[in-house]
């Protein structure tokens, strides 16, 4: 589920963009330690493969068909950090070239699908593939799609997009159905690939730390509770925040210049909101800049080492 622009309110997209930037910078550095520069084309080609694989329809009965989403498949084939990079590149191309998913919503989509979707998809494979291989792959793909979709749904709800309980339940049922299809396709695809060439599917023992397991578990919790909380608050995150008293505490920590998404001292509310929006963009830009510099410096060091 790619969220287009225009759905998320500024506080939501600014927060998610700001969160996606360090996440991607960190994962890029991590992926770089796992993947040599000469293997970068493989990651790009795998991204193109996932795009193309979506053209293959899998009949799932009742005259309908589904197609691969790919987060869990990539995680099993490439490892979680490189897979997250490939999914990020896919989402960027989809947003820029196909207008599938928004530009400002890219941070949200990246977090939902490339970060949480991939890590959650890898989690069961990492810990249970040794004994229950098929079940682990299925569970990974199922969780990957359902977590991504539920997170997207919560973000929409937090942005105040109104949905009745009925609609939310129907959406959750649809998510579950597409998650089951993804699980079946991923299992079938991995088994078919293993038949052709056993060594191409990554062994599940090679990477993974408790930290990344924590990311996965956090994502599952976030997704499941997110929907419940978000749907309880039809007017969006700020109403919820006010009710729970988080707003006042958050304001003193991070939101001081923004409080309630309006700059203090500016009475005109829309002007304030726009100003806050611009400030948000500048903030993202600043953070990206700093992280980019940091990772670039490391890249240079890494490149010298590899070049030797």
């Amino acid at each position: 589920m790619h969220i287009p622009d225009g759905f998320l309110t500024p506080p939501v997209w600014v927060t998610l963009d700001a969160a996606a930037v360090p996440a991607i910078s960190y994962l890029a550095r991590r992926a770089r330690t796992e993947i040599e520069d000469s293997r970068i084309p493989l990651l790009g080609v795998m991204g193109a493969f996932v795009f193309a694989a979506q053209m293959i329809n899998f009949p799932v009965g009742l005259g309908t068909s589904g197609h691969l989403v790919g987060g869990a498949l990539l995680a099993c084939l490439l490892g979680p950090a490189p897979a997250a990079m490939v999914m990020t590149a896919i989402l960027a191309i989809q947003a820029l070239v196909f207008q599938d998913g928004g530009i400002l919503a890219l941070g949200a989509n990246v977090l939902n699908m490339a970060v949480f979707g991939v890590f959650v998809g890898y989690l069961p494979y990492r810990y249970f593939a040794a004994r229950h291989r098929r079940a682990a792959i299925f569970a990974g793909a199922f969780l990957s799609v359902s977590v991504s979709a539920s997170m997207a749904l919560s973000e929409l709800l937090l942005s105040g997009v109104r949905m009745g309980t009925g609609i939310i339940l129907v959406s959750l049922a649809l998510f579950a159905a597409s998650a089951i299809i993804e699980g079946l396709i991923t299992v079938a695809a991995i088994e078919a690939i293993e038949r052709l060439h056993p060594s191409w599917v990554r062994s599940n023992e090679s990477t993974g730390t408790p930290a990344f397991a924590a990311v996965g578990v956090a994502a599952i919790l976030l997704a499941s509770f997110g929907v419940v909380f978000a749907s309880a608050s039809p007017d969006g995150i700020w109403k919820l925040a006010e009710q729970t008293g988080i707003a006042s505490r958050a304001a003193s920590l991070v939101e001081t210049p923004f409080s309630g998404y309006s700059l203090q001292g500016i009475s005109n509310s829309w002007m304030a909101k726009a100003g806050a929006g611009v400030a948000g963009v500048l903030l993202i830009f600043g953070v990206t800049l700093a992280l980019g510099r940091l990772s670039r410096r490391r890249h240079v060091v890494g490149a010298e080492r590899k070049g030797a």
Binding site: I40, I185, A188
Partner: protein
Amino acid sequence: MHHVVVERWSRRESPIHRRDARAKLVAALAMIVAIATTPATHGISAAAYSVVLLVAVFVARLPLGALVWRAALVLPFTAVFALASWLSGDPLRASALVWRSYLSAFTALLLISTTPLIELLRALEWMRVPGFVILIAQFLYRYLFVISEQAQHMRVAARCRAGEGHRLTFGGAAAALSVLFLRSYARADGIQRAMLARGFSGHFPTTIPTRFTYNDACFGALAAAICMGIRFAQ
């Protein structure tokens, strides 16, 4: 295919096509941020953004009808939520969802229709998006054409074997997927070989920098000013 048409548009010639990708990226971001922060009640602002976009399409000498239709691909998704908002008694939010998402998608489409993707990626790199992601996206886009063509050939071949009216079975689709994977993997190996054969030394050489001219700066500033002007006008 969508990206083939867009790619062709992006390599046309016009005053907007000539501008540096960075200037166009800033302009598009200004527009999208302005749209995203305009209150739902300001329908008139939406009309003003539309006029600006129409002028841009005209200056870029792009086919308006085709752009209008292509940007509409976002509408089915939007329609579902707009309907839900409408039914729950919030028609203002419903209409804002529609115009915000449509105008944002149109802006993004206009950006990619006037800027070759590769220049856009360079502009993103200039905005400090990690080079690793940029390189992956660059290779992804380069081989998107090649591999989707391969997938299409496989689909035709499968249809020929299965005969008219017969659908691919689930197992058959999985087999096709694995063959596509195998070929993609072999292609990646081939690319790596070609890179090494031409002396790839462990990191990608830096590309030739493009010049950011006075005109580019003016264009970016003007576009951002117009967007903000509309945003703040009563």
